[in-house]
């Protein structure tokens, strides 16, 4: 039977790789994320070596006793995983470079549309403007409410105004149609 007790050096190495990999992956810059992914990937690849048990002879027929052989299957899997990781590293590297070309930095950015929706939600404004959200004074009811509630907050004034402007346009459109 194969001795499955792992080598302590490998265990510590996996721990170190994974810790630093996770730390780097939590950064915003794509290059650091890439480095983190490389470390994390290598840590997981070493885990396969642990899974293979204690190192032994090369698993070739005629090379000593079968019980002294290393398990070859994890090595095959690691090889595949390394190839995949290499390909992905190449792609992410290219993407980071492209991001730097376009924006002058390679940071993973937030989703602007999501932010916009969240701002609307915070103001309790309708996500979509429609004829039936307008009232007679050409201001959407929800916006009026938001305006009243937001009077105490200085920084949201500007936002409200631009929204009201939009509402006017919309009402005129509705009027034209009728």
């Amino acid at each position: 039977m194969i001795d499955t007790a792992p080598s302590i050096v490998l265990v510590i190495a996996v721990g170190a790789f994974v810790i630093s990999g996770v730390y780097l992956m939590l950064e915003r810059s794509l290059t650091r994320i890439l480095l983190g992914f490389i470390l994390l990937g290598n840590g997981v690849n070493l885990m396969f070596l642990i899974a293979a048990g204690r190192a032994g002879n090369a698993p070739l027929i005629g090379n000593g006793e079968e019980s002294g052989w290393t398990d070859p299957l994890p090595q095959a899997m690691v090889l595949t995983a390394i190839v995949i990781t290499l390909g992905l590293v190449g792609f992410v590297g290219a993407m980071a470079y492209r991001s730097w070309q376009l924006n002058g930095h390679d940071e993973v950015q937030d989703d602007l549309e999501d932010r916009r929706i969240a701002r609307l939600a915070a103001k309790n404004a309708p996500a979509v403007f429609d004829v039936d959200t307008d009232t007679s004074d050409a201001t959407p009811l929800d916006d009026q409410a938001a305006g009243v509630r937001d009077e105490t907050e200085d920084d949201s004034e500007e936002e409200t105004e631009s929204r009201n402007g939009h509402g006017v346009d919309d009402a005129q459109r509705g009027g034209d149609q009728r």
Binding site: I84, L102, D111
Partner: protein, 501 residues
């Protein structure tokens, strides 16, 4: 008969991979590229249909290179796999025709993006590989193939917006891949095998704690791919930025591969510790929070992406019930959802073309300008919302019946949640309909007819969506037989390990 059909099993992977190489070599001759790509996918549909028939009389197993199961790589096509293969091949073909039509209409037919067809075919190979994988590592490789292709397709052209969305998508997918790989290493260390059938025998024998850890790792990895609630935030952000056909094929297929993997591992490997309650709560959260997100959106692509997330909840619900009827409902729902969601995204591509935008604030008047487009949107949208007699209604009905049969407080909560989600879906798509088709046009619509080459493939998908309603009986019967097979892991085990082929 059975032995002959087994030789077809690797074809859904081999055909697109070989063709991908060919099309890449033929990058100077776009006409041949297109011809080969379409022929390959059409052939995949034929192979898929043949497998569908053959697998109904017993799973087909192929041991690659003649190495027997626990050692060699085995490819397995049972009813579920065959069903998924056929549907995905058909969807891939329709979307390819659509993007081809787009190229022709745009006059880009003579100079298309060289790598589009090869990458698309590799995506097809990855999806098929995940469906026929008989061991966890091959499943991982299938995932990686399709993900690598999806990275390229999502960032096609490398514009600022696509790179931004692509960065998020790629990083999230990388994390899920690493988690999956960790799961594989732990599995091998604990059991000494990664063959699914072999694992099904060995996992119950090991320490339940370790088995649970493996299960959670795999669920995490698949959950990210399938966009189940706490792991779903990446999807509505990244999908809408891609070109319309790419979004359509991603929305239709990629998340379903994750759902398929969950279904396979939950029914085959973890029959004793099922985490069903956890999955049910996640399903509920996915449904409700997803659809609330959809209601808030003002961009039709994002709206549909959120409904995509939300409806994954239905499938997880069916899986979590872990009864025969629940599983059958989930299988049927996957089929329905692949078709409907793809059709909707293709139609959105047409809407964007006709109306000039996908922003619901600015769209309008399309019903008058393009009645055909209105029909193309209306039918799948109603099917998504679950209006009878369309297939969405049948799928939801099956799942709700299964939930009611289960008769536990939690499943009743889920049944209620599923109905609320269905109503909110109706609200969301009707809102989109009102804004895009009935509202007075805000901008002058371009006087352009939609190119027939793009409308035709969308029409094909629509016919399939409608057809699914008409042949729902046989399909549901097939799904139920697939569920029977899933619920009895011993069949799978004897097929793979004790198979005669």
């Amino acid at each position: 008969m059975n032995i002959d059909a087994a030789y077809l099993v690797p074809l859904p992977v081999v055909i697109p991979l070989v063709t991908a190489g060919l099309t890449l070599a033929l990058w100077r001759v776009p006409k041949l590229q297109r011809l080969f790509a379409v022929a390959a996918l059409a052939l995949m549909v034929v192979v898929g249909a043949t497998l569908l028939v053959a697998a109904d009389s017993g799973a087909l197993v192929m041991h690659l290179g003649g190495w027997d199961a626990p050692l060699g790589i085995s490819l397995v096509v049972d009813r579920l796999s065959a069903l998924m293969l056929t549907v995905s091949a058909f969807v891939l073909l329709c979307v390819l025709l659509y993007s081809l039509g787009q190229d022709i209409a745009d006059g880009a037919a003579e100079a298309p993006v060289t790598i589009y067809y090869p990458t698309y075919l590799i995506l097809a190979a990855g999806v098929s590989n995940a469906f026929i994988a008989g061991d966890l590592f091959n499943l991982y490789v299938g995932f990686e193939i399709l993900l690598a292709a999806s990275y390229v397709l999502l960032t096609l052209g490398g514009t600022g917006e696509r790179i931004r969305a692509g960065a998020i998508y790629v990083v999230v997918a990388l994390v899920s891949s690493v988690i999956f790989l960790t799961g594989l290493a732990v599995t091998y260390a604990a059991t000494g095998t990664i063959n699914l059938a072999h694992l099904a025998q060995r996992l119950p024998e090991i320490d339940p704690g370790v088995s649970l850890a493996i299960q959670v790792l795999l669920l995490l990895a698949f959950g990210i791919k399938a966009a189940i609630f706490p792991l779903s935030a990446w999807l509505p952000d990244s999908y809408p930025t891609a070109p319309a056909p790419v979004t359509a094929v991603f929305a239709g297929l990629l998340t379903k591969v994750g759902v398929y993997a969950i279904m396979r591992t939950q029914t085959l490997l973890f029959t004793e510790t099922r985490l069903d309650n956890l999955l049910m709560i996640l399903a509920l959260a996915t449904m409700i929070l997803g659809i609330l997100g959809a209601v808030a959106q003002s961009d039709i692509k994002r709206l549909l992406s959120f409904t995509l997330v939300s409806h994954i909840g239905y499938m997880v619900f069916g899986i979590a019930l872990s009864t025969r009827t629940g599983m059958a409902g989930a299988v049927f729902y996957i089929i329905h959802h692949i078709m409907v969601q793809t059709t909707l995204f293709l139609v959105v591509g047409l809407i964007e073309r006709r109306g000039g935008t996908t922003n619901l604030d600015r769209l309008g008047g399309l019903a008058k300008a393009s009645p055909g487009l209105a029909i193309l949107f209306f039918i799948p949208a109603m099917s998504l919302a679950g209006i009878p007699p369309l297939s969405g209604f049948l799928g939801k009905l099956g799942l709700l019946q299964a939930g009611v049969q289960f008769d536990e407080p939690l499943t009743w909560v889920l049944v209620a949640g599923a109905i609320v989600t269905s109503l909110l879906t109706l609200y969301a798509v009707v809102k989109a309909w009102n804004k895009a088709f009935w509202q007075a046009p805000t901008i002058e619509l371009p006087q352009e007819r939609l190119p027939r080459t793009m409308v035709f493939p969308t029409g094909m998908m629509l016919v399939a969506v409608l057809g699914l309603t008409f042949v729902a009986g046989p399909v549901y019967g097939y799904a139920t037989r697939a569920a029977d097979e899933l619920m009895d892991p011993s069949v799978y085990i004897t097929n793979v390990l004790g198979g005669t082929s």
